[in-house]
Structure formats: C-alpha cells, structure tokens
C-alpha cells in the first residue's frame, strides 16, 4: 500500500544526496566571510526547511483525517511529525555547532531564529506524551489530529513573525529577490534541498510501510485467535 515506488525513490535519494555532497565540497566556493565553516549551511538550512514543511504537512494530513475519519491519514500525520522531530533535533545540533564555530558560543538566547525553532521543536515534543497517553485508538487519533492542526498552524505564523523581525535576525541568504548567494552556492543549496526532500519522503514511506505491516500482522493474529475461540466453542 505505502511501499509503492519506494525502491526508485530510495535510489533517487541516494543519487541526489551523493551529488549534493560532491557539489558542497568540490564545487561550491568558500564563503568570503565564514570560510569553510559555511559548508554547515548546506546541511543545516535544508534540514530546517524540510522539518518545518513536515510539521505543516502533518497538520494538513490531520485535517484530512478529521474530515474523512480515515485512520490512515492520522498515521501519515504521525509519521510526518515524527520524522520532522528527528530532523529538528539535527537542526538544533548542527545549528549549535555552526554557532560555536562562527560566534564562539554553542547557543545564543537573543537570536530569534534559533530560539523560535527551539520553541517549535519543544512544542512538537509534547505530541508524543499527548498521543501515547490515550489508549483508545479512535480518541488517540482525533486528539493527535487536533494538536497537529493547531501546532501546524503555529509553524508558519512563527516563521512569519521571525521574518517580520528582520532587523534583529541574522542576514538572509535566500529571499524572493534572490538573496545574497552567488550562483554556484545557490545551485548547491537547491540540490541539497531536493536531496533532503527526497530523503524525507523515502523515510516517510519506509516508516508508513513498516507501521502498516505491523498493523496487518496484529490483525492477522487477532483473526486467528477469534477463529480458534470459535472452533473451541
């Protein structure tokens, strides 16, 4: 059901990510200000963009779940949020390493971009206890969907608020007008971003496939137990 196209997708992810790494280390020029440390940008920013989009996607799947009542949409929402939390953890760690290399500090509390991402990450960490504290599967899916929608709406609002406070944030390297990146850097960034999107979709489909197989197995066991009980009676 969910495994359709997984193998070519995984192959495409491997090819694009390998190409991205080659571009990062052998094609993209060194940044005039930051030098070699700027290479962290190519992994940190695409991860952040994909994590934020994954959280929003989780909210959209949750809307579809509440509208249709189909539990598969809740599963899609859960897996998207779960993967985004893993990427979010990567964003925070790589961001910290970058901050240490560039500013001499592991964390800077008066930097709105960092703190707003941490707030969003912590908000989504609440999703797990909320979801798994509810035993009834239908209620679990419904409550989780409501949370996913509310939190999913918070993500773009938070992003917009930080963008509006431009004067206080670090320089923008990407914008509607092209930003300040030279062409080679921009090409490398876009290839890395495509690779990250492909990686997210591949892992999302892989986890959905595993979860679906596990659910099918449980269903088979339940049916067998019911048949045995019927025969015994």
């Amino acid at each position: 059901m969910y495994s359709k196209g997984l193998a070519p997708l995984a192959a495409a992810t491997a090819v694009v990510l390998t190409a991205a790494l080659v571009l990062v280390f052998f094609y993209a020029p060194l940044d005039a200000d930051q030098g070699f440390v700027q290479k962290i940008f190519y992994i940190h920013v695409p991860m952040a963009i994909v994590a934020l989009c994954g959280w929003v996607a989780g909210g959209i799947f949750a809307i579809r779940h509440l509208r249709s009542g189909d539990a598969s949409w809740d599963l899609r929402s859960y897996v998207a949020i779960h993967l985004s939390i893993i990427l979010g953890l990567g964003v925070l760690i790589t961001g910290s390493i970058w901050a240490r290399a560039s500013w001499g500090h592991w964390w800077v509390w008066d930097e709105p971009v960092l703190v707003s991402f941490l707030v969003t990450f912590l908000l989504y960490c609440v999703y797990y206890p909320l979801r798994f504290a509810i035993e009834d599967p239908e209620r679990q899916a419904r409550y989780s969907s409501v949370f996913a929608i509310a939190a999913g709406a918070f993500v773009p609002l938070n992003f917009t608020a930080v963008r509006l406070a431009q004067a206080y944030t670090h320089p923008r390297v990407l914008s509607e007008t092209g930003g300040t990146m030279p062409g080679e850097m921009r090409l490398t960034f876009y290839v890395t971003l495509i690779g990250m999107v492909l990686l997210f979709v591949t892992l999302w489909k892989l986890e959905l496939t595993a979860k679906h197989a596990s659910m099918q197995l449980k269903r088979l066991r339940r049916q067998r137990a019911e048949r045995r009980e019927a025969v015994a009676a």
Partner: protein
C-alpha cells in the same frame, strides 16, 4: 551580545564541519537501524505465524 568572528582556519573549521555532517549521518543511520530492526521483527513474527498455520 555577539560579534561576527573572522573565518576560522581550515584545520580548525574542518572539525566543526565534519561534526555537523557526522551528526546528520548518525541521525539517519540510527533511524534506519531502528526501522530495520522493526522490519526484522515483523518478518520473524510472520514466519512464526506461517509455521503455526502449516502445523
């Protein structure tokens, strides 16, 4: 308050860049390893179920 520092020399910057990419790789590898363990468990349980049916 922080100030933009001059670019780090390559030997010093290298360890930070390597650290960031290793973190990314480690996260993906741990995730894939957990998924692989789950799939192995499902496969084993399915085999057990099929064997029970054959008996």
């Amino acid at each position: 308050m922080f100030f933009a520092a001059p670019a780090l020399p390559l030997d010093e910057a290298g360890k930070y860049v390597a650290g960031a990419y290793v973190v990314f790789l480690a996260l993906i590898l741990i995730y894939v390893a957990i998924m692989a363990a789950k799939l192995v468990r499902i496969d084993r349980e399915l085999t057990e179920l099929a064997e029970e049916d054959d008996r």
